[in-house]
């Protein structure tokens, strides 16, 4: 089985987000990691490889800085890595670049995260599956393979759906695909082996345009001071929620 895991290289969840002149994300002091949603899919792919046998390619679109995340993915258990050397302007750029690279490669299973925690658009997986014309399961929280049939679970609005599909398929994963405690971390042996694995760099042929142009970033408005209520005077809180906040 051929598995492709697409990852994003994003600011660590503890990062404070700041901008230079409201136009550029200030990366000074920010450490970058594999997008948390993608980590569940990456670990899942390694479990599939252990149980069913598979070859895992991990792919990222970005400049050379994202190679640290690709190396980590190799150390966790991916067999080879590909970096598409491009700084994307929007989600459609990313999807087109990935599609162009994989369209002739016949992956059985393509795993992405539900969204990346930087731009949060959550549309790349849906775009790639439509371009490839293969089934797509979004917000996937369970995947098992038996007799060449893919058994899936996904979150829907207000519930969970159980599904079946044939290969090839694209899933957008999140927590539940594997549990947080089962997430794989690189072992010393994995790190050593990753050094010998191939990380290829692909240069896109054409420069891609975008219909979206950043105008400016903004930070959320900071709340005024917090009104403290005495724990022996809960009636006052109820009163404030009614009269001032008007929420009850």
């Amino acid at each position: 089985m051929k598995i492709l895991v697409c990852i994003s290289h994003v600011p660590d969840t503890t990062s404070k987000i700041d901008f230079v002149d409201d136009r550029e994300f200030d990366t000074s002091g920010i450490s970058f990691v594999i997008n948390p949603y993608d980590e569940f899919g990456l670990t899942k792919s390694v479990f599939i490889k252990e149980n069913n046998g598979a070859n895992i390619t991990v792919l990222c679109v970005g400049d050379s800085s994202c190679e640290s995340s690709l190396r980590k993915a190799l150390a966790i258990g991916a067999d080879e890595a590909v970096r598409i050397d491009h700084i994307p302007k929007d989600s459609l750029n990313i999807a087109k670049l990935i599609y162009d690279y994989i369209k002739d490669k016949e992956y059985d299973l393509i795993i992405t995260g539900r969204e990346s925690i930087d731009y949060n658009s959550g549309v790349v997986p849906g775009l790639i599956s439509k371009m490839l014309n293969i089934p797509f399961v979004n917000a996937c929280i369970g995947l098992d393979i038996k007799d060449n049939v893919v058994h899936l679970k996904r979150e829907i609005d207000g519930g969970i759906e159980v599904l079946e599909s044939n290969f090839p398929i694209l899933i957008a994963g999140q927590k539940g695909l594997v549990e947080e405690k089962d997430l794989k971390i690189p072992s010393m042996r994995g790190i050593m082996m990753a050094r010998k694995k191939t990380l290829s760099v692909v240069k896109p042929e054409n420069d891609l345009q975008s219909s979206l142009k950043l105008n400016k970033y903004e930070k959320p408005i900071v709340k005024a001071s917090c009104k403290m209520v005495d724990s022996n005077n809960i009636e006052e809180l109820v009163e404030l929620l009614h009269r001032e906040a008007k929420v009850i």
């Binding site: 999807a95 970033y217 917090c226």
Partner: protein, 322 residues
């Protein structure tokens, strides 16, 4: 021309659909354009949509074999959009909305912008604001494409009820969509009696300060007296005290309710990212230095086991008096 997709589930329109219609109505006034609401599914009561300004409705009275077959919905919406030369599609950024918009954007050549929180700040050029960095910031984008899909973050724009006396144009269409699903749906487990978290106006959330899953009874009781949805912090879902579907925060669900009550949650930056756009935040914590107080509107320093029962009885008293 604007096309608003009003999502339904179990023969009922979703609350987020009223918000999408409200948004479509305001945008149509702003750009001086007509707007049409499209609905899909059997046995829907459309009269309610008028209260949010829908006066031109196109209804497709077909249920797909499986209610959650996203591609079926994408095909119908794309088909109608292309036939009638619309320019803008408004949808809600629900799980369903997120699953259908990428496909629609490709078949209609629309630019797609998700997690939108406001009306465009400018029409020429078209500039619109979306959430980025998991609610830690916003980005304003200029969209040069005339055709676009705007996916609205639930509870961000809000529902605007209007008094309308105009007649509603209502037509039914039966498109001949030649379509076979690529997926086979086996079963659906609905948590139907619960309020859906992204759509909820009021949310009660608790963290490790509750000490164990058995103590969630009082959280559920508080939610029940308030009519709120229940949520939890990441550590609580990671150790299995509560289901993943209740995890709010940067890597869980992000919410913008009218009221968020955080009990026994210290307020790490990852948690705040998912909840800080709540309009009102109440924090209850034993630690007076908990960082969450800095992001709160109202705070109580106290033990949840002391404060919550008192809060439940005060709310009950308030509800019976009002």
């Amino acid at each position: 021309m604007i096309l608003v997709y009003a999502e339904s589930n179990n023969k009922k329109f979703k609350k987020s659909s009223y918000e999408a219609i409200s948004y479509g109505k305001k945008l149509s006034e702003l750009i001086n354009s007509d707007f049409t609401v499209i609905t899909i599914g059997k046995n829907l009561d459309h009269s309610i949509l008028k209260e949010y300004g829908a006066n031109d409705i196109v209804h497709i009275p077909i249920d797909p074999k499986d209610n959650y077959d996203d591609e079926f919905y994408s095909n119908i919406i794309s088909d109608y959009f292309n036939k009638k030369n619309f320019d803008i599609i408004i949808v809600s950024n629900t799980n369903h909305g997120k699953s259908i918009t990428p496909s629609i954007s490709l078949t209609t050549n629309c630019s797609l912008i998700t997690n939108v929180v406001e009306l465009p700040s400018s029409i020429e050029p078209f500039i619109i604001k979306k959430k980025v960095f998991s609610n830690k910031a916003y980005a304003n984008y200029e969209i040069s494409n005339k055709k676009k899909i705007i996916s609205i973050s639930p509870n961000s724009f809000g529902i605007k009820e209007i008094k309308s006396n105009s007649n509603t144009e209502f037509k039914e269409l039966s498109p001949d969509i030649d379509y076979t699903s690529k997926l086979n749906s086996i079963s659906i487990n609905k948590n139907s009696d619960k309020i859906s978290l992204p759509e909820a106006d009021l949310v009660v959330s608790a963290g490790r300060g509750l000490k164990g899953p058995e103590n969630w009874k009082m959280i559920e009781e508080l939610s029940q007296v308030l009519g709120a949805a229940t949520a939890c912090s990441k550590p609580v879902s990671d150790i299995g005290w509560r289901p993943h579907s209740e995890h709010v925060g940067q890597t869980g669900i992000s919410i913008n309710p009218e009221l968020y009550i955080a009990i026994g949650i210290s307020g790490a930056i990852q948690h705040l990212a998912g909840v800080s756009s709540s309009k009102n935040i109440v924090v209850i914590n034993t630690d007076k230095d908990a960082p969450f107080f800095k992001a709160a509107d109202y705070g109580i320093v106290g033990d949840a086991f002391d404060v919550i029962p008192k809060l439940i009885s005060e709310i009950k008293k308030f509800k019976s008096d009002n």
